[in-house]
């Protein structure tokens, strides 16, 4: 607004007195920095004079400028007569300018026609005229409303991230959260202020422990909430904040403890295990993750003394302790052990592994080895326990060959959970044979994880031509044929050689997998919208599908109960249809599912 007078003056300067230009220039400069560096010769002597003097002068000239603005109307009349083409243009501009009154002048309000004094804050109305203060306020209110309306869609980015995060937590997008969930979230937010949990059920306590861990509020101060004298079970999935003394406290407060889970137990030390040995005599299930401060000697002592009581032992991420000598103690002392999980324990070699044969009651075995292993030793373990084994998880076994599959299919008859991941030397044919041989011998499995069981030869990204390596079409069909009826959880991520035809056959019309709840199909490039629709149709109890990197899924209707994770590109299409999914699932038959191939 203040610069309006400047613009008015400039077109006229040529005809009018010449010192108007430098004066104006100087004014601008004065406003900016107070330093005048104008090259015009007329005003040279004025230039060094800064501060008040020039300021005054500037103001004076400014007034003169305004005067000129008024005076300008006269030449306009004369130009009207001239027939030059510029005239119209000029007139239009001039008329526009005429409407703009300067601060301090009087003007009629565009809205209410009332006369008012123009201020620098006067608003411009819809037709370009000025508005009086009350009308301006009204306009401002309307603008703010309009702004609010337009702002809403802008926050979707953040909301979408929240939605995705909830999906990953397994929460479904439709409908309200349960009141239990809402309360737990609230409690976790005010974790420090909670005095006690009172008398709540164990499943609820576990839920609280989960969310405390997730929000990283499970600290020494909040630990006490989870300790009750009669507790038989404690589950802390992230114990990283707990200090050495806190562990002792757990065993002191809860001497009846039978089941212990400490994740990230990085401050659990020898002295704690010693104290546990003395105090917590009832422990049957011990799960410690990343307890790296415990030495091999302490493990040996503990297992020698307490080993006979243990039924479950799950240890992961032990880098510097728990070596082959401990394995020997384990095999000798833990006669009751039914569940054993040793993942990423770097010191265990073939020498220690072979002792596992001697465990008399082992029914659940999970191994994720870091040292190169002789597959024959694993085969001998499976052969020894085969008839008892219910769980067999072998992650990262690149050395294993089809003879491992033969051992499994000929010895295991009660298996319900099987993981063979990152086994890049198994062939498709071998896997198919294993499942075919199992028919009638081993009941259908409920959990199968074959992730990353594929050929990893970067020279041949499509895999070898003559024989498919890893889980591919034939293996997948055999797997689903054998276990489809009981399967609850299936992970075939990165098994990218499973063909479109195989998926269509497995999830085609007429097939149903009533128990399947959770599928991970990530990086199975052949999966497209058609297959996805087939999956939703044939698995009525599906709650979660993970499909990262399946770029051929475009638009698909997700049933109400299920979530589809990992499809950022197709998000809009999915959300759009999300609400209708339920109706379509309600209709019987196979052809009503929308497919946009």
């Amino acid at each position: 607004m203040e610069n309006a007078d400047d613009t008015i003056v400039i077109p006229n300067t040529e005809e009018d007195d010449s010192d108007a230009v430098p004066a104006l220039k100087r004014r601008k400069l004065d406003k900016g920095k107070g330093k005048a560096r104008v090259q015009s010769s007329d005003e040279d002597d004025d230039l060094p004079v800064k501060g008040k003097g020039t300021g005054k002068k500037g103001k004076g000239k400014g007034k003169a400028g305004k005067g000129k603005g008024k005076g300008k109307k006269k030449p306009r009349g004369s130009e009207d007569d001239s027939e030059s083409e510029d005239a119209d243009d000029f007139l239009a501009r001039d008329m526009y300018k005429k409407g703009k009154k300067l601060p301090g002048q009087l003007e009629n309000c565009e809205e209410c026609r009332k006369r008012f004094t123009v201020t620098p804050y006067s608003k411009t109305g819809s037709d370009g005229g000025l508005l009086c203060a009350p009308c301006g306020k009204l306009l401002k209110g309307e603008e703010a409303k309009a702004k609010k309306k337009t702002q809403k869609p802008a926050v979707t980015g953040r909301r979408r991230r929240k939605v995705e995060s909830e999906k990953l937590d397994g929460r479904i997008g439709v409908g309200a959260k349960s009141l239990v969930q809402l309360s737990i979230e609230k409690i976790a937010r005010y974790a420090e202020d909670v005095e006690g949990f009172g008398d709540i059920s164990d499943p609820l306590l576990r839920k609280l422990s989960h969310i405390f861990t997730k929000n990283r509020v499970l600290k020494p101060e909040t630990l006490d909430l989870f300790l009750r004298n009669d507790n038989r079970k404690i589950e802390i999935h992230d114990a990283a904040y707990l200090e050495t003394d806190n562990y002792d406290r757990v065993f002191m407060e809860c001497p009846q403890m039978e089941d212990i889970t400490f994740g990230n137990a990085c401050q659990l030390k020898d002295q704690n295990l010693q104290y546990m040995l003395e105090k917590a005599r009832h422990i049957k299930h011990l799960k410690l993750y990343a307890a790296n401060l415990i030495t091999t000697d302490m493990w040996n002592t503990y297992l020698t003394e307490h080993g006979p009581n243990l039924e479950t032992l799950k240890l992961t991420w032990l880098n510097a302790s728990f070596d082959d000598s401990t394995m020997e103690v384990l095999a000798k002392r833990c006669m009751q052990l039914t569940r054993l999980k040793l993942e990423l324990c770097g010191k265990i070699t073939d020498e220690g592994l072979k002792h596992l044969k001697d465990l008399p009651r082992l029914a659940h075995l999970s191994l994720h080895l870091t040292q190169p292993t002789d597959p024959e030793i694993i085969e001998s373990i499976i052969a020894a326990h085969g008839a008892r084994l219910q769980t067999l998880c072998l992650a990262h076994i690149p050395e294993a060959t089809n003879s491992l599959l033969n051992t499994i299919s000929s010895h295991c008859t009660r298996l319900s959970k099987l993981r063979l991941s990152s086994a890049e030397n198994l062939t498709d044919e071998g896997i198919a044979t294993m499942f075919n041989e199992w028919t009638g011998k081993n009941p259908p499995l409920s959990f199968i994880d074959m992730n990353s069981t594929r050929s990893v030869d970067y020279v041949m990204p499509e895999g070898p031509d003559e024989e498919a390596v890893g889980l591919a079409s034939a293996g997948f069909i055999a797997l689903m044929k054998h276990s489809g009826s009981a399967l609850r959880k299936l992970n075939v991520s990165s098994c990218r050689h499973i063909s479109m035809a195989a998926f269509s056959e497995v999830f085609g019309t007429g097939s149903t997998y009533p128990n399947l709840e959770d599928i991970d199909l990530s990086f199975c490039g052949e999966v497209d919208s058609y297959v996805m629709a087939g999956i939703f149709r044939s698995c009525p109890n599906l709650t979660r599908v993970i499909a990262f990197g399946c770029f051929r899924i475009e638009e698909v209707a997700v049933p109400k109960k299920a979530v589809l994770i990992g499809m950022p590109r197709a998000q809009d299409a999915i959300e759009q249809f999300g609400g209708v999914g339920m109706d379509m699932m309600g209709v019987d038959g196979g052809k009503e599912v929308t497919v946009e191939a």
């Binding site: 909301r159 409908g175 309360s183 737990i184």
Partner: protein, 100 residues
């Protein structure tokens, strides 16, 4: 004996009564089982559930939640209901009991 009514009454242990729509009340598994005509509980006959463990202030919030749940049953991106921090613990126990 009476027909299933449109509204049912929930009573807290300290005597507060809340009359809420049946369709909302039966979102809670425990209340649904109480009111099931097949079960032949006194609650089903009188359409009145006395919840001996829940104080009025908590039950009020529960009723609010039941209506909130009913309202948003089919919508996506449901805004979370506000829960006062001071009753969150009681509410957790009540909601666990009521199966909501």
């Amino acid at each position: 004996m009476s027909e299933p009514t449109e509204y049912v009454t929930l009573v807290s242990y300290d005597g507060f009564e809340f009359k809420i729509r049946r369709s909302a009340a039966i979102i809670s598994g425990a209340i649904r089982r109480m009111l099931d005509p097949q079960s032949n509980f006194a609650e089903a006959r009188t359409n009145r559930c006395t919840l001996e463990t829940i104080p009025g202030i908590v039950l009020e919030k529960v009723c609010e939640y039941l209506y909130y749940n009913e309202k948003f049953a089919d919508s996506k991106d449901v805004p979370d209901m506000e829960i006062p921090a001071d009753i969150a613990m009681d509410l957790l126990i009540a909601s666990d009991f009521l199966d909501v």
